[in-house]
């Protein structure tokens, strides 16, 4: 075939006629092309960007891992001495070798549970109110207000707890202990088992610390739950309404199932913060080193308050014991946060089905 010749070939495929032009071009004018590589060759700025970003990620992870590493190293000597007893001993006197976190860990969990019992109903109700009932400018204002409240420093809540709630809550505590004293948690008794009604028996209790910490974590929880509820698909909401549902029926059938991940995740994130709260608990509670089942009775403790209380006067070994306590707290919050974020992440993928 001569170079540059154009061959026209009419072929018939079914009822369509296809014209094929076969063009042969001069090899020297356009060399045969090899298949183009589809892998991009990064420019220099991209190489720099990639490596900088990669190292930033590495540094971030290194810092986070270093937290666990350093605590473990420092805690080593104390844990070697105490062994498994560290988890079951209530006393805290590292100088005599008798120390453990049973009491403080119990106190921490008790305060966190009280906080969650108070904060979750409030957060759930408020987030549903904001996402489902409110509309227009009021809604925007409420969202902003909740976000702003999430930024109120914990020491402010601590101040309120010490200077207002300590006295304000005594009648309520006394009333609960009088009428619900038959429930072991709510009884306030001395060692012989006689009921106490003295005002001083009700101050500085785990209950007060729990209320304060609960109020502190409510805005965070509300914010997370509201976000999850607002992602509930509009199509399904309208479908529920079209089937004759009331608003509450729609919330029960659409919003709550879709926001379940947000509810659980928000609750657990709040729990994580409540477990780690230091200064408000430290300001309110009067520290004791014994397991106190009576939540309304004065005295309690938490791991973080213990650390803040004792680090200043601690010898090297006592410091190691405090580090061990911090390590336990760290591991607990790590597990809770990890569970929370995985639950939230899993629920998010489902909620994006329809806008």
């Amino acid at each position: 075939m001569p170079i540059g010749a154009v061959v026209t070939d009419d072929r018939t495929l079914g009822d369509t006629t296809t014209t094929v032009i076969l063009a042969d071009e001069a090899p020297e004018s356009r060399p045969p092309q090899e298949p183009r590589s589809l892998v991009p060759r990064p420019s220099r700025s991209d190489v720099v960007f990639r490596s900088v970003a990669f190292s930033a990620g590495g540094v971030t992870v290194a810092i986070m891992l270093a937290v666990g590493l350093f605590l473990s190293i420092r805690a080593g000597s104390a844990i070697q001495v105490a062994g498994l007893d560290f988890l079951f001993e209530q006393k805290w006197s590292p100088e005599t070798g008798e120390f453990g976190i049973a009491a403080v860990l119990f106190g921490t969990i008790m305060i966190a549970v009280i906080a969650i019992c108070i904060s979750v109903p409030l957060a759930l109700g408020t987030s549903l109110l904001i996402s489902e009932v409110m509309s227009g400018r009021l809604k925007q204002w409420s969202i902003t207000l909740v976000d702003l409240m999430a930024a109120v420093p914990s020491v402010v809540f601590g101040l309120w707890g010490v200077f207002f709630l300590q006295e304000g809550i005594i009648p309520v505590s006394r009333w609960i202990s009088t009428y619900f004293g038959w429930i072991p948690f709510f009884a306030v008794t001395d060692q012989e088992g006689t009921a106490l009604t003295d005002a001083s028996a009700f101050t500085s209790s785990a209950f007060i610390a729990g209320i304060v910490v609960g109020l502190m974590v409510v805005p965070t929880q509300t914010s997370i739950m509201r976000e999850a509820f607002m992602q509930a698909p509009a199509g399904e909401r309208e479908a529920a309404y079209a089937l004759g549902s009331t608003r509450w029926g729609m919330i029960g059938a659409v919003v709550l199932p879709f926001g379940r991940g947000g509810i659980i995740g928000g609750t657990m994130l709040g729990l994580g913060r409540a477990l780690g709260e230091t200064i408000a608990v430290y300001m309110i509670i009067s520290p004791i080193f014994a397991i106190n089942w009576q939540v309304l009775k004065t005295g309690g403790n938490s791991v973080s308050a213990l650390i803040a209380l004792r680090y200043g006067e601690a010898s090297e070994f006592a410091l190691s014991a405090l580090m061990a306590a911090g390590l336990v707290l760290f591991l607990i919050t790590l597990v809770i946060n990890f569970a929370a974020s995985s639950i939230v992440a899993r629920s998010r993928s489902g909620a994006e089905s329809e806008a």
Binding site: I21, V48, P171, G326
Partner: protein, 418 residues
């Protein structure tokens, strides 16, 4: 040999048919549009039911507390009144509607009361602090003096928290200087580069978001002060705050960057931009407001933390502007220190310091709204004028060029136009 295939247009006739029935806007003239219906509005009897239930509940509560039962206390009164209110309201609604609607109304009431309780409690906490702190805030020296020469019995006109304000600003400044670049670049790494390592980083950062502040303090105490042997200083406190803030900033920025629309990125790549150019000119400007919010969230958490500063820096009543030497107190720590004293003046100073701290956080939020309040592409009036001026300049340039080209074409007519 290259092969090119032509296909004759089979759909010629169909196309012609299609052009005849084009999509068109329906004529709306002559259609009457009534007044817009209000979907959500309360009927008159709803309002009466609410009012009646409120009146009845008050009556019952007053009756119970005043005459019948030996009850007392403000909290008890409110609780009884609220329960009576809900019960009477449910009964009233039940007279006109079925059970399902009654449940709906009552639950709406419960939601609203949860909101009222929450907002009033939080606002009460804040206003309580502001009001108790007012006596201290009224003295201007509170903002400009430190506590070096203020004795325990001195009045509020001596001494202040300038050292704590300066300490807070220095510490948070150092913490931000580290955590903003590191946090945002890490978030970019998670989103723009990805891969298995990025997933690992994201998992770790997620798990660290609610790192207890005291643990961050302990970490820096053991790593920097015990490990390296550095003294307790403002810089150590800043490091502890950084450890706390970093996961919060990374996570919040990660969420924001994930929301940047993929087609914006693809458009940029399609125009031939490199990855870095795309990040710098498309991703970051689009996510700007969200990134500012992320930073502010982290800052607000970091600025209010007491325990890391307590562990790593310590309390002082003297102004210290050197972050590498000597204890440097911060506002929350100063609050904590003040209220440990039984002196009423010190307690008032504590509340005043807490008020200053809250005002600082509020100011941060205001700044964030000014910087990052606008969405992507949403310009301020000044920026809009600038963009218009640029656009006008472009137009003039095009016209000038076109004129030059016309001129060239007339001068050298033999040259073929490209």
């Amino acid at each position: 040999m290259s092969l090119t295939t032509y296909e004759p247009d089979l759909a010629d006739e169909e196309l012609e048919a299609a052009t005849e029935i084009r999509t068109s806007i329906p004529v709306r003239e002559g259609i009457e549009i009534g007044p817009r219906r209000r979907i959500r509005s309360a009927r008159l009897d709803d309002r009466f039911a609410l009012l009646g239930a409120a009146a009845g509940a008050m009556a019952i509560a007053i009756l119970l507390f005043g005459w019948i039962a030996p009850l007392s206390g403000v909290v008890g009164f409110v609780v009884v009144a609220f329960l009576a209110f809900v019960a009477i309201y449910a009964l009233l609604v039940n007279t006109t509607s079925d059970g399902r609607e009654m449940v709906d109304r009552v639950m709406t009431l419960v939601l609203a009361s949860a909101g009222v309780v929450l907002f009033s409690a939080l606002l009460f906490v804040v206003t309580f602090t502001l009001l108790r702190g007012l006596p201290a805030l009224m003295n201007l020296n509170f903002f400009f003096q430190d506590m070096e020469f203020a004795g325990p019995l001195d009045g509020l006109d001596v001494g202040g928290v300038a050292h704590a304000i300066v300490g807070t600003l220095i510490q948070i400044g150092i913490a931000l200087a580290i955590s903003i670049p590191l946090g945002i670049v890490t978030a970019l790494f998670l989103n723009e580069i990805g891969g298995r390592f990025a997933r690992f980083v994201r998992t770790i950062v997620d798990a660290m978001t609610a790192l207890p502040s005291i643990v961050a303090g302990l970490f820096v105490y053991s790593a920097v002060i015990l490990g390296i042997g550095a003294e307790r200083s403002g810089f150590a406190a800043a490091l502890a705050i950084t450890v706390m803030m970093l996961p919060i900033i990374v996570r919040a920025s990660d969420v924001v960057l994930r929301l940047v629309a993929g087609n914006l990125r693809e458009a940029s790549y399609a125009l031939g931009a490199s990855r870095w150019r795309t990040v710098w000119h498309v991703v970051l400007p689009t996510a700007r407001s969200g990134l500012v919010t992320a930073i502010i969230l982290g800052t607000a958490r970091g600025i209010g933390e007491t325990s890391p500063v307590l562990l790593t820096s310590g309390i002082t009543s003297v102004m210290n502007t050197n972050p590498f030497h000597g204890p440097m107190t911060s506002l929350p720590l100063q609050v904590f220190d003040f209220v440990r004293s039984p002196e009423p003046n010190f307690i008032a100073r504590g509340f005043g310091t807490a008020a200053v701290l809250m005002l600082l956080v509020l100011a941060l939020f205001a700044v964030a709204r000014v910087i990052g309040g606008r969405g992507p592409g949403d310009l301020s009036p000044r920026q809009r004028r600038a963009a218009q001026a640029r656009s006008k300049g472009d137009l003039e340039r095009y016209e000038e060029r076109a004129a030059v080209r016309r001129l060239e074409a007339t001068v050298e007519p033999q040259e073929e136009p490209k």
